[in-house]
Every structure is written in C-alpha cells, then in structure tokens.
C-alpha cells in the first residue's frame, strides 16, 4: 500500500465506480451498492467518501448533461484513475498475500 490508505467503505465505492464504468454518478453508485451489497448508504456518507477519494487522486470526475429529473442540475460522472486502480490492486494484493500466508489448519474447524 502507498502512503494513501484506503478504507473499507472507500474501497467499496471505488470498486462500484469501476463496475458502473461510464454511468457512475452519485445516485447510481448509491443504488448499485444498496442492491448489490444489501447495505444502506446515505447521500452524505457517499458524498464525503467520493470527494475524499477524488482529493486523494483515486477518482476523477466531469460534469455530464443537465436533466429535468435532477431539477436542472448536471450529473457529475466519476472515473477511476490509474492511481486508483493501483490502490485497488495493492489492497487486493495485500489481502491475497495474507490469505496465502494462512496455514491450512487455521481454518480447519473440525478440531475446534
């Protein structure tokens, strides 16, 4: 992992942005997480996580078209940056390393 650490919720958001690819904006991210992972996400929590991730350089964003359904406000679409991808990979990497290091017997609960 680099200097910038990444939290669990941030990781979920980052991954979801990647999943949604070109349709990743506020509400779609929120709903995707809610459907796929069955967990409640408040607009506030998501919004702070998004802007934090953008500040760290894991995400970048640009405005899309304004639509009537949003009261004439434009959507802000997010995209994972290469740096973000690296961060995600490094998280996965560390996890993998840790998994591999676990001796077989540790999870053998027959004897427990």
């Amino acid at each position: 992992m680099g200097k910038q650490s990444i939290g669990e919720f941030e990781e979920v958001i980052l991954l979801t942005v990647a999943v949604l690819y070109e349709n990743a904006y506020g509400i779609s991210i929120k709903q995707d997480i809610e459907e796929r992972l069955q967990r409640k996400v408040s607009v506030g929590a998501m919004r702070t996580a998004l802007s934090r991730l953008e500040k760290k350089g894991f995400l970048e964003s640009e405005f899309g078209e304004a639509t009537a359904i949003r009261g004439g406000k434009r959507k802000r679409f997010y995209k994972v940056t290469p740096y973000g991808k690296k961060a995600l990979e490094s998280v996965m990497e560390t996890r993998k390393k840790l998994w591999e290091a676990i001796p077989n017997v540790a999870f053998d609960f027959k004897f427990a």
Binding site: Y25, I27, G44, R47, I69, R70, G71, K73, R74
Partner: protein, 869 residues
C-alpha cells in the same frame, strides 16, 4: 401519474443545503438528492419529504460543509492578523518590558477588581427585598436643649397603629423590636439566640425566605414562633423539615411558643438580623408601657407603594408624636421623618436630623481608590509604550511608505493595547480568584466572582476595554505622527516637546496619587491608633464583662464575693451595661434650678458601690459611693452633666429621675460611653438597685487566661444551666472600630500597591533613558566622570518630577484627611511629620528605583557602549 405536476422537494432543507454546502459540490449534491426525491416520491410523497430532510441533515458534515471563510476576502482582517503577529513578536522580543507592562496592569486590575467587588457587595446590602424601594423606616429626631438633635429608631407603638388606621397612602405597617437575646429550650436542648418581635405583616413586607410554614399566618397568634434554619438544625437535627413545624418550645424559660415556620438564615446582606421571630402582640400584651405615646418602642416600617405620595406622608407624619404628647411635661421637642429602607445601611449617620453619610463615605473613598489604581496602571502602560516608541519607528515608517494611513497605525496600537489588557485581565481574574479567600478574611466578607451572572462578564469585558482604551490612547495618538523620513532614517531621537512634557506630566500624576494614598494611610493609621489607645476615662485593660444569665441574677452578692475570693480578681462590680458602649437615657431628670421648659436626654448607668473602683474611673469632685453609707439616693454625675446642669459646686445639689429623689455626691471624670465620632453625653451613675445589673465587670490581674478560667469556674458553679458569656472590654472596644481597622489595612495595601506600580513605571522609564543615553554616558566616562556623577545626572530629572508630585499631593492630601478627621469628635492632630514621612517614602522608593537602574548603565565599561554602532 406522469400527468401530475412534478412534485418538488421541500424548500427549507434545500435552502439550508445551499447555505452550508461547499460551492464546488453543491450542484452535483443538489442534483443527487433531487433525483432521489423524485424516485421516492413516486411511492410515498410524505415519506420522500421526510427522507429528504434526513438526507440534507446527514449531508451536514465536514467535507461537504464549506470551510469557514470569515477571514477571507476582507482586507481588514488580514491587517488584524498582521497586527496580532507583530504584537506577539514585539511582546516576546522584549520580554522584560512586556512583563513589566503586564505586571503593572495586573496589579492595578486585581486591586481595583477586589475593591469594586467590595463596593458592589456594600451596595447590595438590604437590596434583596422585592418591595425594598417602597419600604420606609420612621425615624425620630429629638431636639436636645443644648441644640443637638439625636436621631433614633424606637418609635411609640401608637404611631404605628395610627398610621395603619388613618394613612391611606400606607398599605402596610410593620413594627419590629430591637435584637433581643432569649433562651430557646426544647427537651434537654437550650440555647441563647438573638431574635425579634415582629408584626404579622413583617413576612409579607420584607422578602425573607420562608422554608417551612405559611407566610400569611405564621405570625398571627401570640404563641407562635419562627426559627432560623440554623436554630432548627440545632434543636431538631437534620430532620427538622419533618419535625419542627407545630412543635412547642420554651422561650426565655417561661413562654410556650409553637413553631409555625422556619426561615432561611439571615445573611450578611441584611441589616435586620434575627434567629427567631415572635409576634409583636406577645410583647405588647406583656409590656403595657408601649401603649404610651411618650415611650419609644419598636422600629416602625411603612410600605408606601406609590412613590409620589412619599412627600405627603412625610409632611403628615412630621409632628405626630408632638401632637399626641401635648400636655405631657416630659415630652420632648421632636419630629418624625422617613428614610428609604434600602438606604439605611449606607446612610446611617445623622447630624441635626439629616443624613450625614455613614458607610457610604467608605464606599465612595474605596471606589475612588479603585479608579486611581487603574489610572496609575494605565499611565504606566502609556509611559512605557511611548518611551519605547522609537523602537517601533522603523516599522511605523515602513508601514507609512507602504501606504498605511495614520488611522490604521492608530488602530494597530489600540489593538495591541487591547490585546495586552485582555491578557492582563485573564491573568487578573485568575489571581483574584486565588486571593479572594484571603481578601475575604481581611474585610470580613464573603465575596465571590459570580461567573454565572452576566454583570460579571459585562464588568470584565468593560474593564478590559476601558483599560485597553486608556492605555492605548496616548501611543495611538502620538506614534502615527512620526515623520516618515525621520523614522526610517534612524529612529526618532528627538520626540516632540509635547510628548516629553506629557510623559513627565503622567509621571507626576502617578506619584501624586501614590503620595496621596500614603498620606491617607498614615493619617488613618494615626487616628485609629489614637482611638484604640486614647485615655477613655477608665481603665479598659484586663476588664471582663460577664453577662448575667439565668440563676445568676438572683445571687449577685454571692457571685461577687465568690469572685473576689479568687486571687486573680482585684475588683468586681455590677453594671447595667458595657460602660464604653452605653446608651440608656431618660428625659425625666430634674435638678435644682432646671427650667421646666428645657428637655434633656440624660443617660442613666445603674451600678453598685464598687463600680468606680472596678472600672478605674476618677472622681474629680466630691466622693465615690461608699458601702458604709446609705448611698442609694446619692448619685454620681459626669463632668458633662455637671456643666449641663450649670452648677458651680454640684455636690449636695438635689437631683431626681424616674421619680427617685436624691442628691449629687460626686462628679466622675468624663469617660467615653459612645464611639469617638460622638461627643460625651451627660450621665448619672446610681447604685440604687444593683439587682438591675445586666453584666458583672471583673477586674483581673495581668495573667488574663488564668483569670478567665478561674472566673469561668466560679460562674459555672453558681449557674450551671447557662453558657458562660463574657467579653473583654478592650477587645469589644477595638471590635467596634472594625470598619476603621479594615479601612486601615486596605489603605495600607493600596498605598503599597500604588507605589509599587508607580515604581514599575519609573523603572521602565529610567532603564529606557539610560539606554538612550548610553553613548553620552560612555563619552562622559571617557572624559573622567565618576559613576556617582553619572548617577546624579540620570536621576536628576526624575527627582524633579517626584518633587513636583509632592507639591500637587500635599495640599490635596491635607484637605481630604482633615475633612475625614473632622468626622471624629475626638481626633489626633494633623502632624506635618505625616506628610514629610509620606513624601520621604515615595521619594526614597522612586529614587532608589531610578538609581538602581541607572547604576547598571553608569558602571558599564565605556568601551562597550561606544564601540557599538
């Protein structure tokens, strides 16, 4: 569904969101929650609205809320930040000066805060009554034939009844007895407590807090009694709340009184003090003399709610006593007047029937002292800042070059002064809190800094502002006037002559105040000393006054002979009171040649044959009482009485009072029955009925503690039921001047503080001028000047200033101190030595400060100061 008008999200949360949300996020965030609302609204509008509120609320979090940018975009604030920074740097760079400055301010603020706390506490006495402003006390002015008017509070009872019945402007009348000591007894618990008899309206007129019982009915039956919480706790323990009410206690060993109420202990903020209350009716029924217009009885208070009617009531009540005592040969010439109850604590001194001050004199003096202390501290600040201003001249010059107008430089120095004063204030508050307990002991009060009260905060903020403004004003006006070129070129060597004179003027003023305070202290000290050591006409040392309680009254002779058998006791006598604090008078005295039209109040002291010997008084004419002779109708009078009666040779002249005819046997040298503010009153001493004594005076030998123990032993033996109650006459006497002694201590402290602050200022100025003139000193020394010569050179200027301060302070000091002394009937003379000593002290301290600072400069090797460039 699509045909319906689009449902809009609630406006209020949206507006809130737009207010707090950081601008770069707003559009996106608002769009998101709008979209979300639209989706939810299709299912349930109300729920959607609720959730919308909730979403907005959850959005209110760091990261989304925009950063506080009060400081952004306003140039002023940038400047203030800069002023703050520069002020801090300056303060830290010249730590010594900052400390000097702060110390002066802190000492000034602390002492003035303490004094002002005391002043406000004095002003709060008797102010807790809800109707206080509408309560008026009736006072009587009795004209004596010698032209003096004595003002008293005991008012004939029929007057109160008359006012209650006939004066429509007066809605309530309360009669209240003087403080009486009586024993309260329940089961095996007995105690002696002071209390008062009061009319039923007492509780509704005054706002004493009732903890238990009914305000309306508690004083309605003669067999009722109310007791204080302290008494209740002593009688009933901690369960008094459930036990006290309705219980019967025995008062004065004979009356059964039923407890109908318990009131909160009366605090120091009330001039009416009492630990029990019994309905006045009980006293009136037992003492028929109160029904006579000729007899002064209780204090009488009137409730006059309509302020416009006061004058009418005063006019109408003026002659009531005189009108109702027409035809009574003993009636005096007297008038009645009203005093607002809330004024009675501070304005308690009367001369010729009008208010002539009282404690208010002290309050005013102290308030002035507090203001002076602050002024001295502020002047210090001004002086130090302006003297140091050349240090800042480059900075000021540069600011001006960069385009700073005078106004902004002025603001800068005000800002700096405010900052320092705020810091000083914060430290002062901490120090005040630390030393308040000590101060309380000193002034015998329970002062506190009440942070819950807004007034405290207003006061502290106000003081910070005033001090900041005062001390910053002169630097702020002076410094911006420096010329740019000069200040950048190399400091302002020569300050304008006005600035120099002004600073000198301030020093003069400072030292004048210090001198004044020291003169004041010295005079107060001398007078108090005079009072405490004055020959009072009797020997007050080692004289014990034991109160006669219970069984002792009937066994006075036994008690006396028992006491006399003690080796430590040299003489014993009964008396009707402490001879140094005595007031029991009659207007019924008659003597040979007295014109019937003349009315005189003459004091009567009841004693026995041994009184003169025991008290150590002197007989100047005639003889003392003699136990061998039948002296019950022979009287002694004092010199004042002899003069009043106009006898050349009073011995053997006929004298009568209280219907007893007798003659004068001797004249006793004047002694002080009252405090030294008052002239000595005429007095008759009689040994007609020793059993009427209320104290036994016991003269003991030098070994006071031993003697006291022995006297206590005898007293306890004869009177086991009662506590041994005694006072030392000299201690009691000293006690009666506790105000003056407090003043003396305070004046001492403040004189010290003010000279301390002034010297601090002088120290700063002297070291500054020594620094400024370091080259000059160097050159002088190279040319052969000695250290002493340099010292004289440096301190000459300041000695002139201090001498000028004396010229200012001495006449003012003389005026005020002689004015204060004039209040005493007996006083020390104003010694010029006092002024000389005061000036000497100030001069000594001042010059010592300057010299010690200059010495450093003068003793430095001239090479050092000259090499520096």
């Amino acid at each position: 569904m699509s045909k319906q008008a689009p449902i809009l999200p609630p406006k209020l949360p949206l507006r809130f969101l737009r207010w707090f949300c950081s601008p770069e996020l707003l559009e996106d965030v608002e769009g998101d929650i709008n979209e979300l609302f639209g989706q939810r609204a299709q299912q349930n509008q109300n729920k959607a609205k609720r959730l919308f509120y909730w979403d907005v609320l959850l959005l209110f979090r760091p990261g989304i809320v925009r950063s506080l940018n009060i400081f952004k975009g306003q140039n002023n604030n940038v400047m203030f930040k800069n002023y703050f920074k520069i002020a801090m740097r300056n303060a830290l760079r010249y730590k010594g000066y900052t400390a000097l400055n702060l110390l002066g301010l802190i000492v000034g603020i602390v002492s003035s805060m303490l004094v002002l706390l005391w002043v406000s506490d004095e002003q709060n006495v008797d102010k807790f009554h809800a109707q206080g402003d509408a309560i008026y006390q009736v006072l009587r002015n009795m004209k004596q034939s010698n032209g003096q008017v004595s003002t008293g509070t005991s008012i004939p009872k029929p007057l109160g009844d008359l006012v209650a019945a006939e004066y429509s402007e007066v809605t309530e009348v309360t009669q209240l007895s003087w403080l009486m000591n009586m024993s309260l007894e329940r089961a095996n618990e007995t105690m002696e407590e002071g209390g008062r008899f009061a009319s039923p309206s007492f509780l509704s007129m005054f706002s004493f807090k009732l903890l238990d019982g009914n305000k309306e009915t508690a004083l309605s039956e003669p067999n009722n009694i109310l007791i204080s919480r302290a008494v209740a706790e002593k009688l009933f323990g901690s369960n008094w709340q459930s036990e006290a009410l309705g219980e019967v206690i025995k008062v004065d060993g004979q009356f059964e009184q039923q407890i109908t109420g318990v009131f909160e202990d009366v605090g120091n903020d009330s001039t009416i003090d009492f630990d029990w209350l019994i309905p006045a009716q009980a006293y009136f029924t037992a003492n028929k003399w109160v029904e006579d217009w000729g007899n002064g009885a209780f204090e009488t208070y009137l409730l006059i709610p309509d302020q416009t009617k006061i004058q009418a009531v005063s006019n109408r009540i003026l002659m009531e006593i005189k009108d109702h005592t027409k035809g009574n040969p003993n009636a005096g010439d007297e008038e009645l007047m009203l005093q607002q109850f809330t004024n009675r604590y501070l304005y308690s001194k009367f001369e010729n029937g009008a208010v002539a001050g009282g404690r208010i004199d002290y309050v005013r003096i102290m308030a002035v002292v507090a203001v002076f202390m602050l002024l001295v501290a502020c002047i210090n600040f001004m002086n130090l800042t302006t003297a140091r201003s050349s240090r800042r001249s480059k900075e000021i010059g540069l600011r001006k070059v960069m385009g700073a107008p005078k106004k902004s430089i002025r603001i800068q120095f005000f800002f700096e002064a405010m900052m320092l004063s705020a810091v000083a204030m914060a430290l002062s508050v901490a120090i005040v809190m630390l030393i308040l307990p000590l101060f309380n002991v000193l002034v015998d009060k329970t002062l506190t800094l009440d942070f819950l009260s807004m007034n405290t905060w207003y006061f502290m903020l106000g003081l910070t502002f005033v001090v900041g403004f005062l001390s910053g004003s002169y630097p702020a006006i002076l410094l911006p006037t420096f010329s740019v070129v000069q200040s950048i070129k190399g400091g302002v060597r020569k300050q304008s002559s006005f600035a120099v004179y002004f600073r000198k003027g301030l020093v003069v003023f400072q030292f004048a105040i210090s001198t004044l305070l020291i003169i004041g202290t010295a005079v107060v000290y001398k007078q108090i000393d005079y009072v405490l050591n004055k020959d009072l006409g009797m020997n007050k040392d080692n004289l014990l006054a034991v109160s006669i309680e219970g069984d002792l009254a009937g066994r006075l002779d036994t008690y006396k002979s028992e006491l006399l058998r003690l080796p430590q006791v040299t003489a014993v006598s009964g008396a009707s009171g402490n001879p140094l604090n005595y007031g029991r008078s009659t207007s019924s005295a008659n003597w040979e040649g007295k014109s019937p039209a003349d009315g005189y109040e003459i004091n009567i002291l009841l004693t026995d044959e041994d009184f003169i010997e025991t008290s150590g008084m002197q007989i100047v004419q005639g003889r003392d009482f003699d136990s061998q002779l039948q002296d019950s109708t022979n009287f002694l009078i004092n010199e004042v009485a002899a003069e009043l009666m106009g006898f050349d040779d009073p011995i053997g002249k006929k004298l009568s009072f209280w219907g007893i005819d007798g003659q004068i046997a001797g004249v006793v040298k004047n002694f002080h029955m009252r405090d030294l503010y008052q002239p000595i009153a005429p007095l008759i001493i009689t040994c007609i009925d020793p059993s009427m004594s209320s104290v036994v005076l016991v003269r003991t030998d030098e070994n006071a503690t031993d003697a006291l123990a022995a006297v206590q032993g005898v007293t306890k033996e004869l009177n086991p039921a009662e506590d041994f109650e005694y006072v030392y006459i000299d201690q009691e006497y000293a006690e009666s001047y506790s105000n003056e002694r407090t003043m003396r201590t305070l004046a001492n402290i403040f004189a010290l503080v003010s000279i301390f602050i002034s010297s601090l200022g002088l120290l700063g100025l002297a070291s500054y001028s020594a620094e400024q003139r370091s080259k000059e000193i160097g050159v002088r020394k190279v040319h052969g000047a000695s250290i002493g010569q340099v010292l004289v050179l440096l301190s000459k200027d300041y000695s002139k200033l201090i001498l000028m301060a004396f010229i200012l302070a001495v006449p003012i000091g003389y005026y005020f101190t002689s004015d204060w002394l004039a209040k005493f009937e007996f006083r020390t003379h104003l010694d010029p030595l006092v002024f000389i000593i005061a000036c000497g002290i100030v001069f000594g301290v001042g010059i010592l400060t300057v010299v010690s600072k200059s010495y450093q400069a003068a003793s430095i090797n001239p090479v050092k100061s000259l090499k520096e460039e």
